[in-house]
């Protein structure tokens, strides 16, 4: 299901009320002209699964609402997406790097524009 990014928090809150209590994964895809963030949520009682995707046309400064107050488990997923795709998440603390703690590159590794083979310095 594709939704507008402004509606994200509202839609997820509604789903959670309907019983989608389990967040499986948050992932991002770089389609070059836009970025897409996909939320995979799950209902542990009825065993239904739902995919909710948000398109971010602004690839220079993509920003999205954090859903950490709805699903606690989104914490690490958001931090991973932040460092890998440069998508900022509004309304949460601690956006420290997760997997790339000692890496000082300015580019975002999972973006398609990432320069292969470029040398990056380790953080001092």
């Amino acid at each position: 299901m594709e939704i507008q990014k402004e509606a994200l928090v509202q839609v997820l809150e509604e789903h959670k009320r309907k019983g989608f209590d389990y967040l499986k994964k948050v992932l991002a895809v770089d389609y070059q002209s836009y970025l897409e963030v996909v939320y995979i949520i799950y209902n542990t009682d009825s065993k239904e699964q739902a995919l909710i995707s948000v398109k971010l046309p602004d690839t220079k400064h993509p920003i999205l609402d954090s859903i950490i107050h709805i699903y606690s488990s989104s914490d690490w997923h958001e931090r991973e997406i932040h460092e890998m795709f440069g998508i900022a998440f509004k309304g949460r603390e601690n956006m420290e790097k997760l997997l790339l703690l000692e890496w000082n590159g300015q580019d975002f590794p999972l973006r398609k524009s990432f320069a292969w083979g470029a040398e990056y310095k380790k953080k001092e």
């Binding site: 967040l23 488990s73 999972l110």
Partner: protein
């Protein structure tokens, strides 16, 4: 009392890989944990984007070195879904058998190292490794590799199983059943083990769901959830087996779920062997690896599997011959995330019992 900060890792025998924990303790009680990961990050998701589909399984196996086959199969299954390839019936049964053996081997390794974490040095470890070696011997003869196999091909397997495969597999499960039953006397009747695991590291049902844990950790907290039941793949809908769940969500319950799962896997293997034997066409061979394989359709695919550690998932946006993007949900990632929730408030000495009970594999987390 003042807070003391203790650094654990990244290189530490009890963290099972490169994991750093910065633990604040007040006396003996854990006040806060800062979990630092990423020391093993190799960028597998990015590497996959530059390789044709069948170049990737060797990478996928290194994501979880304890159960390499399961990640290999997950990736090949997502390629099959993307290309619309049917898996041969015989190959479906062989895959189920091998994956369940892989689950048993993984749980046996975990059980040995977990008891090491609890301080029962190398007694159970020797037992479980003896049984695991027997499983690996069979896998070696079928899949032609001791630790890493790369024996899944699009639509089937790399090679036909040896002619005596079914006999040996039947004998092996009988052997495993009798041996693993004996562990009960050594573990469950051991008062020290019970004291160190009962009511320790409790993760309540509600929190387990909220923190997104999966697999035995989720089932230990009382959630009936198994991908083999809720979204059956291959022939799991035709196989009779139960999903062990517990209610308390403590370290003991997570141990118990894995222990019982070994017997369920044995049940599954027996039924699959029977079904495979009764097949007329026992051909399991998949497509040979070529420079140009079958073309994938451009729609994104999502494949879930019940891996030994929990739910593994691949979301793949395919290009015809290679993934445009492949994103993994690794079970250990979410399970380790819950560590802070479980361990804060416990005693420091119980930290490694709790961490061990989550059964994490670091490359799985760091990708």
């Amino acid at each position: 009392m003042s807070i003391m900060r203790i650094n654990i890792g990244p290189i530490h025998p009890s963290t099972h890989g490169l994991l750093r924990l910065i633990v604040d303790v007040d006396g003996d009680t854990i006040e806060n944990i800062d979990t630092r990961i990423g020391f093993l990050h190799r960028g597998v998701e990015k590497l996959l984007e530059n390789r044709i589909y069948m170049q990737s399984p060797p990478f996928m196996e290194k994501i979880d070195y304890v159960a390499p086959m399961s990640w290999d199969e997950l990736f090949v299954a997502s390629v099959e879904q993307a290309t619309g390839t049917e898996v041969k019936e015989g190959a479906q049964y062989i895959r189920m058998i091998l994956l369940e053996f892989q689950r048993i081997a993984s749980h046996l390794l975990w059980m040995g190292t977990f008891l090491n974490d609890l301080g029962q040095m190398f007694t159970i470890f020797m037992w479980t490794f003896r049984e695991r070696a027997a499983v690996l011997k069979l896998l070696e003869d079928v899949a032609e590799g001791r630790m890493f196999y790369v024996n899944f091909r699009v639509g089937g397997m790399k090679s036909q199983p040896p002619s005596d495969f079914a006999d040996r597999a039947y004998k092996l499960v009988d052997y495993l059943e009798s041996q693993v039953s004996e562990y009960k006397d050594l573990i469950d009747n051991n008062p020290v083990f019970m004291q160190r695991t009962k009511h320790i590291g409790v993760l309540k049902r509600k929190d387990a769901i909220e923190y997104g844990v999966s697999g035995p950790v989720l089932r230990g907290s009382g959630v009936y959830e198994d991908i083999r039941k809720s979204k059956p793949y291959y022939k799991f809908d035709k196989i009779k087996f139960s999903v062990p769940t517990m209610v308390n969500g403590d370290v003991y319950d997570r141990y118990k779920v894995r222990y019982e799962e070994i017997f369920e896997s044995i049940k599954i293997i027996r039924q699959c062997l029977q079904a495979y034997e009764s097949l007329e066409n026992k051909d399991v061979l998949g497509l040979k690896i070529k420079l140009v394989g079958p073309n994938a359709k451009p729609d994104p695919v999502l494949v879930s599997r019940e891996l030994p550690r929990g739910e593994g998932m691949i979301y793949m946006v395919p290009e015809p011959q290679k993934p445009y993007r492949a994103a993994f949900r690794s079970p250990s990632f979410s399970n380790l995330f819950a560590l802070k929730k479980i361990a804060v408030g416990s005693k420091f000495a119980d930290l490694f019992a709790i961490l061990g009970s989550l059964d994490i594999v670091m490359p799985d987390i760091d990708k």
